[in-house]
């Protein structure tokens, strides 16, 4: 009996630990972040930030959240314990998405209005270099091995690969129309790029930049034009990829080995960016037009909760 109670207690504790994460969502039209408690899956707070917050990302020690506030031309730094903005970095004009390099001290920022990727030194709080890329730079990704950084330019429709040491362009690859997000796989060997208007995800060999696969999506009852590909999340074990399908209001689950679409989940309207929980068991989606976040239980293959947030949620991260 005692053993049983202990087991139940441990189970309860384990399930609590599994969901101890906190989810942060940037609300583009509200100039706020919504804070969601991962255990109760309820709104736990709202943090005012600068104007037009979009890209968000955690600091290396996971104690701070960086928020690109495009209309204020800077990156706000939010202290997650105090839940308020404690300072900011210069970012170049109109920052949209950024990525933290694995070295923990450099942020690579896409400046949408200036056709630049700015490299920000965090301790020094200054931009050390600018890399010229195509028109309307957007997606940013870094290879976990730290060797390269990737960027997409929406209007030029290119994937730009930047050497993280020399900060020079290694390659520019034409991809499908209006590329949004670029992600590097956990083993640093693949680059995944989503195309909003073609509604595809293309996978490239990171070394040769050769195309390994192009994945299309079909959603019954949704016109082809509205099946668009935006946010991408790759699991750390390399088994799965999740892709937000924008105004198709779906998230697709892909076998990352065979590149086959396994299933789609119905979520809120115009799903934009998505985030895996730190334990990889849940997926959180920012739904721009319905102003809510959907929570997908990946093992159970179902959407378990919808949580109202601010207006036009755009970016989402899950912090341990």
């Amino acid at each position: 009996m005692q053993v049983l109670i202990a087991a139940i207690l441990m189970l309860a504790l384990a399930s609590q630990m599994a969901c101890a994460e906190t989810i942060y969502v940037s609300n583009e039209q509200d100039n706020t972040l919504s804070v969601i408690d991962g255990q109760s899956l309820t709104l736990a707070g709202t943090i005012p930030v600068g104007r037009r917050p979009r890209g968000i990302g955690l600091s290396a020690d996971k104690q701070k959240l960086y928020v690109a506030v495009g209309d204020d031309n800077r990156i706000d730094v939010v202290d997650l314990k105090a839940r308020k903005v404690e300072g900011s970095f210069p970012s170049g004009e109109d920052p949209e998405l950024f990525v933290l390099h694995p070295d923990g001290r450099r942020l690579f920022v896409a400046n949408e209005n200036d056709n630049l990727v700015s490299v920000l030194d965090i301790p020094e709080k200054r931009i050390v270099t600018e890399v010229e890329v195509g028109v309307e730079p957007e997606g940013m990704g870094a290879s976990p091995d730290g060797r390269f950084v990737v960027n997409t330019s929406e209007t030029t429709s290119m994937l730009h690969v930047i050497d993280a040491a020399t900060l020079e362009l290694i390659d520019n690859v034409l991809v499908d129309t209006r590329p949004r997000v670029a992600q590097v796989s956990a083993d640093s060997r693949q680059i995944w790029v989503s195309s909003e208007l073609r509604g595809t995800v293309e996978v490239f060999d990171a070394g040769t930049r050769e195309s390994l696969a192009k994945i299309g999506f079909e959603v019954p009852g949704v016109p082809r034009e509205l099946v668009q590909a935006v946010g991408i999340q790759l699991t750390s074990d390399g088994s799965r990829a999740y892709v937000a399908l924008g105004p198709a209001n779906r998230v697709a689950e892909i076998d990352a080995k065979t590149f086959k679409v396994l299933r789609t989940y119905l979520v809120g309207q115009r799903v934009w960016h998505i985030a895996l929980s730190p334990d990889g068991k849940r997926l959180y989606t920012a739904n721009g037009n319905s102003s809510d976040v959907s929570v997908i239980n990946l093992a159970g293959r179902e959407v378990v909760k919808t949580i109202g947030v601010g207006r036009s949620p755009w970016g989402v991260v899950a912090a341990p």
Binding site: N113, N115, V135, E154, T155, S157, R178, R224
Partner: protein
């Protein structure tokens, strides 16, 4: 010295020396009187169209840097009363195969009949005439400006969504006003609206900006807008003669829609969705004013050629033309969906904005207007209705 020279050459050549391909795009416009502002809030526009094309070429050039394409824009302005034939011949002599036409329908037709024009591809960025997409269509003519039927259908879908189905149609006396009114009649029949009353606007208004202008308008317009009960007054006034003065002065308290009031248009400075903010701010930086629907059509035309050249991976004009018209072409036009050309009449299929004077109201096609192919083809002339025979 030799080293310096070598260095200079490298600098001049840039990264794409190896197999750089050149694509020159012609732009033909005609001298026009400056647009008379109606409201003191209106901006002075003297470079409508060409400013859009210049932004388009700048966007193409930025992309071409990475793909080894060199894009240039060759501008030709024809005199106010002159024909376009000489300009077209000049462009042909320079080897130009793509021409963006910022011309009205008669001059566009004359340009298409000029010598050597049949070897060129024209992209119409100004003339909204339905006939150019039907009886007068050409195999070497594409349209990036929406035609009148598309605009009327987009408006009709929105009005029907609102259940404002009884229309009072008021039409100006310019030829374009009558053609746009025809398009509204066609749209009413297609989507189930009823035109309960029609009036032609034949008299000149006292000038609203003179000291007593508003007094005259206030007494004249109620008299001229008496009609059978209706849900909405649909106005057709392409020349901006009277449309702006109707709102708030009509005999009955009804909204004004059409060419004024609530407007259906290919582009408007009020749009900031679907990434439009970026295009709007790029344009304002370049032109020092807001982007109009003609600017947008010119930008779209130049970008379409650029996109096709880069995707076709080739500077062979025949290949670029084939790609433009083919099933794989899509252009990102900041309206939420890829835009492409209809195979049957060369019209660019695109969402149409429904706008008020200060904000975006909606975008058509409206939800529920289904189509077995693209829902964008519920606007304008669908394949079965087209009278175009290439």
């Amino acid at each position: 010295m030799k080293l310096l020279l070598a260095l200079l050459m490298v600098v001049l050549a840039g990264p794409a020396l190896a197999q750089e391909q050149s694509i020159a795009i012609g732009f033909v416009t005609q001298a026009r009187d400056p647009i008379q502002p109606v409201s003191p809030l209106d901006q002075d526009i003297r470079d409508e169209g060409i400013a859009g094309a210049r932004l388009g070429i700048a966007d193409n050039v930025s992309t071409g840097r990475f793909t080894g394409h060199r894009f240039t824009l060759v501008e030709r302005v024809i005199a106010k009363d002159a024909g376009p034939e000489d300009a077209i011949r000049d462009l042909a002599r320079e080897g130009i195969r793509f021409v963006v036409a910022d011309l009205d329908a008669p001059r566009l037709t004359a340009a298409l009949s000029a010598r050597d024009a049949d070897r060129m591809l024209f992209l119409n960025a100004r003339a909204p005439d339905d006939a150019l997409r039907n009886e007068s269509c050409r195999a070497n003519l594409l349209h990036t400006i929406p035609n009148r039927a598309m605009l009327a259908d987009a408006m009709a879908q929105y009005l029907m969504t609102k259940r404002w189905r009884r229309w009072f149609l008021v039409t100006g006396s310019a030829p374009g006003d009558r053609l746009q009114a025809d398009a509204f009649r066609r749209a009413a029949a297609r989507f189930g609206a009823e035109i309960v009353s029609e009036k032609e606007w034949t008299f000149k208004l006292g000038h609203a900006r003179s000291d007593t202008g508003h007094v005259t308008l206030q007494s004249e317009i109620p008299v001229r807008t008496r009609a059978a009960d209706h849900d909405v007054l649909v106005v057709s006034d392409e020349e901006n003669e009277f449309g702006d003065y109707l709102s708030y002065r009509t005999a009955m308290p009804r909204p004004v829609a059409g060419t004024h009031g609530l407007v259906a248009t290919g582009w408007s400075a009020v749009s900031e969705q679907w990434g439009a903010t970026q295009l709007q701010s790029r344009f304002e930086k370049l032109a020092g004013r807001r982007m109009s629907a003609v600017d947008y059509a010119a930008w779209t035309a130049v970008r379409a050629v650029g996109e096709a050249a880069i995707r076709a991976g080739n500077s062979d004009p025949a290949k670029i033309m084939a790609y433009l018209r083919g099933p794989d072409f899509i252009l990102a036009g900041f309206k939420g969906q890829g835009q492409s050309f209809r195979a049957w009449d060369g019209q660019m299929r695109q969402p149409i904005l429904i706008t008020g004077p200060r904000l975006l109201v909606s975008i058509s096609p409206q939800a529920g207007y289904l189509h077995r192919g693209s829902e964008l083809d519920t606007l304008g002339f669908d394949r079965e209705e087209s009278r175009c025979r290439f």
